[in-house]
């Protein structure tokens, strides 16, 4: 079973984002290309068909796309955060100059 945890720093950022948004928050793990594979934190996100919830961090569900579930079957994922004032991800924490990243 894949498993997802969060660092204290990332959890604090998630809570800061939560306090700024009223909608439903979702994290999806995806990426590649220019943004790197990383968590993406969205408000009122339409979760793609077949994406599965692999856990919750700071009360926010974390989804894996259908295509990745087999690949990540045994993955132990840790969601961390870095300072990144120049991210082009549309992930909500970027508005705070932060970027969620995966450690494993």
């Amino acid at each position: 079973m894949s498993e997802v945890k969060v660092t204290d720093e990332a959890e604090a950022v998630l809570r800061a984002v939560r306090s700024r948004h009223d909608g439903v928050l979702t994290i999806t793990l995806d990426g590649g290309c220019c943004e790197g594979s990383a968590p993406h934190l969205y408000e009122d996100y339409l979760v793609p068909f077949g994406a599965g919830e692999i856990g919750r961090v700071a009360d926010i569900p974390v989804f894996l796309p259908r295509e990745w579930q087999k690949l990540y079957a045994d993955a132990k994922l840790l969601i961390d955060v870095v300072d990144d004032p120049a991210s082009d991800a549309m992930s909500l924490e970027t508005r705070l100059g932060k970027r969620l990243v995966i450690r494993e």
Partner: protein, 494 residues
Amino acid sequence: MEQYGLFIDGEYRDAKAGETIKSINPATEQPWAEVASAGEADVDDAVEAARKAHASGVWRNKSYEERADILAAVAEIINGQAEALAVVEAQDGGGTIRKASFADVPGAAGTFEYFAGLCRGYVDEEEFAETVPVASRNIVRREPIGVCAGIVPWNFPILMASWKIAPALAAGNTVIIKPASVTPVTALLLGQICKDAGVPDGVVNVVSGPGGVAGERLASHPDVGKVAFTGSTEVGRRIMQLASGTIKKVTLELGGKSPNIILDDADLDTAALGACYGTFFHQGQVCESGTRVLVSEKQHDELVDKMVSACDRIQVGDPMDMMSTMGPMVSSNQLDTVERYVGLGREAGAECVLGGDRPDMESGYYYNPTIFTGVDNGMRIAQEEIFGPVVSVIRYSDDEEAVRIANDSMYGLGGAVWSSDTERALSVARRLETGTVWINDYHMINVRFPFGGYKQSGVGRELGPWGMSAFQETKHIHVGEDTPDKIYFSALFN
């Protein structure tokens, strides 16, 4: 430090909130430029400038010949400033000066030249006489969409901006470009270049700013009719969701994990070079990189030996040095991603036969060309896009299996087939589920031909007449006979 403003309505200006982003030179890890960072209000201003310019007819009412002259003038100015632009590009993104001088800047000029050529003699109306179901004249017209947003990545900044601006202008649209936040400068310069070439104010606007603010606003704004995006699949998915609010047209050119298939009759000396070129060019930060090299069991060892030897001729170093053929990764985040995947590859049992480490440099986000063998296509390093100088060599037993492995991917952007038998290579190429296939070549994107992805590599096509169509609406005008004798009205009237 150099300062650059947003380019809105024909002039450079600061962001309303006074926010800026510093662009880090990836070779020195030091900021070298400070650019205005657009907030939502700045994006709204740019959209309004573009909307007004479109409504005024100042661009869409120009003849195709006039548009062609101006697009050709843009190309000429880019060529005139080529050296300076190449230096900016190398400092901003860490690509080598060799790449900037021979690929990015001439490619940008060539894109404007090509779409200028497409405008010359362009016919935007076709007429068809019909008798079925009734006698009628039928006119099919190509019209501009209106305000088009182009959101571009950091790997080929001026070239990707040109891929959006040139066809959009050729088709008669107005444009807002959002460059990547780590490489904003050449796109901002392109704003003034367009103006100097004769593009009226408000027709081309450039707003640097974070994707989560400026990009999101552009993708959502009701006055934007089309979004053309190049970048990651996940951001593309989000843009598609945001664009759905007002049913915007979208073109998405997204990630890839492209197969580079060496058939067992290929000339291995050339194929080995092609396998390395396909992955290590621009540090592997290229969406169509051939990051899965598929080779037959019997040629595997020889190919790998030749690839390892070929890498002796790659010089990782200062991007400003004309002898460097690989510069640094674009950012520390990108470097972290590469290191994480190399670790995952080792953990999964793949063998790292070259690289897997960083060169000894005083500064810069450098990473060595890295070759993994013993890779199974089901491993994460074979399925996920690393976007770094990491190639996975995968064995296959026959052509059938090569095709199956090649297509076993959520992506479908590029790919290649190497063979001394063109017909055999073509039969493999025809079966690949990807938007571009090169035979005995790699990275040969041609402005005259369509580029884009199957599956989760994208929607729509850029370049060539297909790329211009992506910036056009199609209108059918039916001219009925001017007669009271319309028998089909009897469907309603007794």
